[in-house]
Symmetry: C2
Subunit: 706 residues, 2 copies
């Protein structure tokens, strides 16, 4: 299926101008472009008359050619475009792409260099990118610096994680500009594969909130990250300013480019209503259309897996405890098994049985292949083999067993961040998958990157991951990538890229926990780039902490876990807990059985970053609506207005809620299930326990009563 375009073009105009100005289609945004007396390009942006970005610099620097000053505006091309397209999967059945565009052409009288910057102003924000056309005075660039600034107007609050070239698995800080240095310094060295940025820096997607009486919410990110390094932002607390910092390789170069160059889009989503930030599809709109002719093989799904037990029991990824075992060298059939290897045939069958019984499409299996006996990323030139199962994992038998039950096994390719070796083996790995009936893979890049010149977010790695996605598409394989560069909406172009991790995920509930606010900020930040494989579904809140041997717990109520399937939308959603746990709470598990992973429509009903989210979604394949509502560590009453329902139709709502005495710390598993009749006029007050949540299925009355 190709995406459909319904395009309405107004007449485009080209003029010679010394400055450029445009407004968004609804007139709320105004953008102006100028140069100063040194010929340095600047831009500024306002929303409903309020300045959002003031005089902020633009430009690129390389030893071969500096596109930074001496410029004047030699012309502008403006356009209005209004079109609608159909995503393969997502939060909406159709997405409107409606913007005014201005291409500003800069020329230097002295150097002869030319630089275009393309601005698109939507009703929800701004996207702009640098475009370096083919020209006589420049061909190759070794990019050292992008000069893009974002100068704000006050001591806004930042919802941010610290700048790091190699990981984004952090909790968020909520801190004003003036407090960033102190707040971000706390993170240094907390993550094993981290290489912190030395300056005070933050990552995108970043959320800011102004201190105004009617505050503005500002989401800052990038779209369409292709052939370019990831962008972080250095923070100037005094100037309330953020500046682009491109991840360099270990030689200190950020990008190797040949003209013509199109950079990724720099994006600002702005609104005085926090819900608009969540609803915005601007980043997808700025990405290129689907690059595949046929997408029939891309199928959203839920999955269970041999995974969570490696976090909360003594089960291991490794087959043996012999840390000297070498993949492809050691005869694994002859070394001593450790007796608690999870990815064994019998255990996988147990998950397949459970998935088949409950209509879950997939079973992820981690630790199925040679190489888990030690962890020596960077030091080891080959850590894993992608076509060598452990002796107790009978891949042929499991293929047949799963196929007979209509379940698919999801492959796991942990690379230990050895992207070089993964590329060397990629065709072999994907062929092996297809030979054994696999259609989806979870990839992992835990550790320090090989090639050793690279970071997780440097240009080469950005292209590596895209190469994997494209190669996977050649084999009709769907991908869920972990520890990869942050998503930037590329799932529109490559819809087999179902999800990424790229943030601190649910796994951290097993080591330290995620405070309830974490999932109240992720949708405002990380999720603006694309779906996250957050792995919700923890029903057994208390677990054995394998790190310290003590009883520990996740920071959530059980009902909240159900709400996450709505508030953390993804076309591939895990139910991470054990089959036997779900069997103990089968009435609550009914929600996971029911909940879709692909949507026809979405309505954000309530939202405040780090505090709460209430969202309603319409199943793409039925008339059922679903609602998810979560709060932070404080009790809350969600006000749910059902006016999104079609008028005059009767529905039955099944409400999965925290019990009155539930509390995420002291009584997390207390939940209640009740049904009420609702229609478009219904409004309810729904209590959420501290750290809790509510999940609701809303089915037309005649169906629900069957």
């Amino acid at each position: 299926m190709r995406t459909l375009f319904l395009a309405i073009f107004t007449i485009c105009t080209a003029i010679a101008a010394s400055s450029g100005e445009i407004a968004s289609p609804d007139g709320n945004f105004r953008l102006s472009i100028n140069t100063n007396t040194e010929g340095e390009p600047y831009y500024s942006l306002s929303y409903k008359g309020t300045p959002v970005i003031v005089d902020s610099r633009l430009g690129l620097q390389s030893p071969e050619a500096n596109f930074d000053k001496g410029f004047r505006i030699i012309g502008t091309d403006t356009c209005h475009i209004d079109r609608t397209w159909t995503p393969v999967w997502g939060e909406y059945a159709e997405i409107r792409d409606n913007f005014n565009e201005m291409l500003v052409k800069f020329g230097s009288m002295t150097s002869g260099l030319e630089m275009d910057i393309r601005f698109r102003l939507f009703n929800d924000g701004l996207g702009f990118r640098y475009e370096l056309p083919v020209q006589d005075k420049a061909n190759y660039l070794t990019l050292k610096k992008e000069l893009t600034e974002f100068n704000f107007t006050g001591d806004h609050t930042l919802y941010c994680i610290p700048g790091d070239y190699d990981t984004d698995e952090f909790l968020f800080s909520e801190v004003p500009f003036s407090g960033t240095s102190e707040a971000l310094a706390r993170y240094k060295g907390v993550h094993s594969e981290s290489e912190s940025i030395r300056e005070t820096a933050v990552q995108t997607p970043l959320l800011l909130k102004t201190a105004d009486k009617t505050p503005l919410y500002i989401s800052l990110h990038e779209a369409g990250l292709i052939g370019y390094p990831g962008m972080s932002l250095t923070v100037d607390s005094d100037k309330r300013s953020l500046s682009a910092l491109l991840t360099p390789d270990r030689l200190g170069n950020s990008a190797y480019l040949q003209l013509p160059v199109l950079t990724p889009w720099r994006t600002l989503i702005v609104s005085d209503d926090a819900r608009d930030i969540l609803a915005s599809q601007m980043i997808l709109n700025l990405n290129e259309p689907c690059s595949y002719e046929d997408t029939s093989w891309i199928k959203p799904m839920k999955f269970v897996g041999v995974w969570w037990e490696m976090f909360v029991t003594d089960a291991t990824w490794s087959y043996s405890d012999d840390f000297r075992a070498k993949p492809g060298v050691t005869d694994y059939s002859k070394i001593k098994p450790n007796g608690h290897h999870a990815a064994n045939t019998a255990n996988v069958k147990r998950y397949i049985d459970f998935a088949a019984k409950n209509g879950i499409q997939g079973v992820l299996v981690e630790g199925w292949n040679e190489g888990w006996e030690d962890w020596a990323s960077f030091k080891k030139n080959r850590q894993f083999l992608f076509d060598k199962p452990y002796p107790d994992f009978d891949i042929k038998e499991l293929q047949k067993y799963a196929a007979d039950k209509g379940v698919q096994i999801i492959m796991h390719h942990e690379t230990a961040a050895n992207a070089a070796d993964y590329e060397r083996n990629l065709d072999k790995a994907f062929s092996y998958m297809k030979d054994n009936g696999y259609n989806a893979v979870k990839t992992g890049y835990v550790g320090t990157v090989i090639p050793r010149s690279e970071h997780h977010t440097s240009q080469w790695m950005v292209e590596h991951v895209r190469h994997v996605i494209e190669k996977a598409a050649d084999y009709r394989i769907m991908v869920d990538s972990h520890e990869a560069p942050k998503p930037t909406g590329l799932c529109r172009t490559y819809p087999n890229w179902l999800a990424q991790e790229s943030a601190r995920g649910g796994e951290f509930e097993a080591f330290g926990g995620n405070p309830p606010s974490h999932t109240c900020i992720l949708p405002f930040t990380r999720l603006k780039g694309g779906p996250m494989d957050y792995t919700p579904g923890i029903f057994e809140i208390h677990y054995w902490n394998r790190e310290n041997g003590k009883k520990s717990q996740a920071f959530t109520t059980l009902a909240r876990q159900l709400a996450l399937y709505l508030t953390m939308p993804s076309p591939i959603q895990m139910a991470c807990d054990f089959p036997e746990t779900y069997e103990r709470f089968d009435d609550a598990f009914q929600f996971i059985r029911d909940v879709p992973v692909d949507w026809a429509d979405t309505r954000y009903l309530e939202a405040e970053p780090n505090r709460y989210i209430t969202v309603a979604r319409l199943d793409k394949n039925s008339s059922d609506w679903y609602i998810g509502a979560i709060t932070d560590d404080k009790e809350r009453t969600a006000l749910i207005d059902f006016s999104f329902l079609p008028k005059g139709v009767k529905y039955v709502a099944t409400i999965y809620e925290d019990a009155p005495d539930a509390h995420f710390m002291t009584n997390p598993q207390a939940y209640r299930i009740r049904t009420i009749n609702v229609n478009s006029k219904t409004k309810i007050k729904q209590r959420l326990a501290p750290g809790g949540g509510t999940a609701i299925r809303i089915a037309p009355a005649q169906i629900a009563n069957k």
Copy 2:
């Protein structure tokens, strides 16, 4: 065909010892191993009672574990092995592998570390390697330094090229230890892709000659370079000492190792007869046997090609002069051709016709594929496509045309040293070759390496090239690699690795020239690692120098070019000049038509490094012998003793020689062809012009007279 072993093992003995000593099977070499009072391991070597290496240190250093001191010898295992094996191709039909071996076990009382060093003493020299067994106190090593020393006994003459991490395409210096600093400093910055080693350093294969009345010749190299960086040697002029210097990556680490570790062999071939250095097969003997079950697809061959014209005419690799063309992006069918692109269908057919007519098996075509419009290695993340011919190269038509004439086209894969991108496309590239009937590829790595952490000779690149060879074997493809790490005899293990460049080759005759001595030293140095694709066969000595637009010339006589087919043996030999040139000198070209590229036996008749070589070889597929004799820039009379011929058999020798007035500078194309009758008693004096040579075909009389 697998190699055959005829092995005779004497009883092996293991003893506890505080020092170790062994002798070579013929008793000429004596080796002793010891530790000093700090427990540092040392070795020394003598030949016929004369010290060759005196007390030289051994050891390895890494931050994780230092194998350098505190050791004592805790035991030795000794063995005698005598066996014969059959190479797939080479200078001999069978090769004898006859040595005494001593495995010296070092143990540390303090650190608990264990290190073995395996020494093999042959009748032609010594090989030794480090072996780090699996042990409790060490697992991963980030190798910083190998301590191996070679301490010599006097101010020997070195025949050397300067230490460089990225290129070995230099002329040789003949210089005593005491003059090395000055001599090697002259080279700095003479080669575009060079990264000179800062210390005074030389590359291997290195030749040394003592100043004794009966001098010793000492060849120093390594064998079986796998999973380890290439070794250069730093020079201590005062101490007459060389020390191992392993190529580091750009992070400063030399190797990433996991125990067990076997390093490459460090090799010393020693004799008081220079001819023994040439004849030695010790480096092949130290390599592992052929790793392929079936080698029937590996076929030595001669080839012509679309190549030399790009050096000496205005013909280009590129199709267009538009330096902004981007492979895979630009539509090459729509850009303006430059009108002098050599790899066009008609021109390739001309070479195919010529090859077919003259029994030449292969036609190399360079510049057939997209990407030659500029040269931006390192700056460009994709320089070439390996499956996109230029519009004027009709690959399908040429496949059919060549096949109909019994000729094969040799693929060319220039990577611009972007090994990362080559790996990404390797399966696609080799599949494309097989789909189009190609069985051999010339690879190239001109430029600065990507991954950008690597050098041409760093560990990752060593493994990259081996990966390419193994992957090629999966496709039954033969490889001739240029700008790859120096050969170390791996062609025994991987006989599809027919040849390498890895030295200043014949192409330099087109820009600056190779003095005649160059090909008198290469067989003593570079060729000890394996065959070189030197590209002999220049008949039109004078050419148009495209660099300065002037008439220029190669430093050779025409007859010498024929002799190079014997003195520079390779299973893949080019006849590099133009078909029309060979047609002008058809009588001389008869020798190239006749000369084999695979040999049953070889006799080095005369040899002195940098001065002269005379060699006789027996065709593997007939009873014909061939002789090649070359001199340096001085006239010489070769004394050729035909006693290698079987007694009582009459032969006719066809002699291709310099005319009496020939001279490589003033009259290089003057040659003469004559025949004489010879038998095992014949001795002749054969004049070689300055810079000249002689090539002789010796066929049994009854056949020759037919």
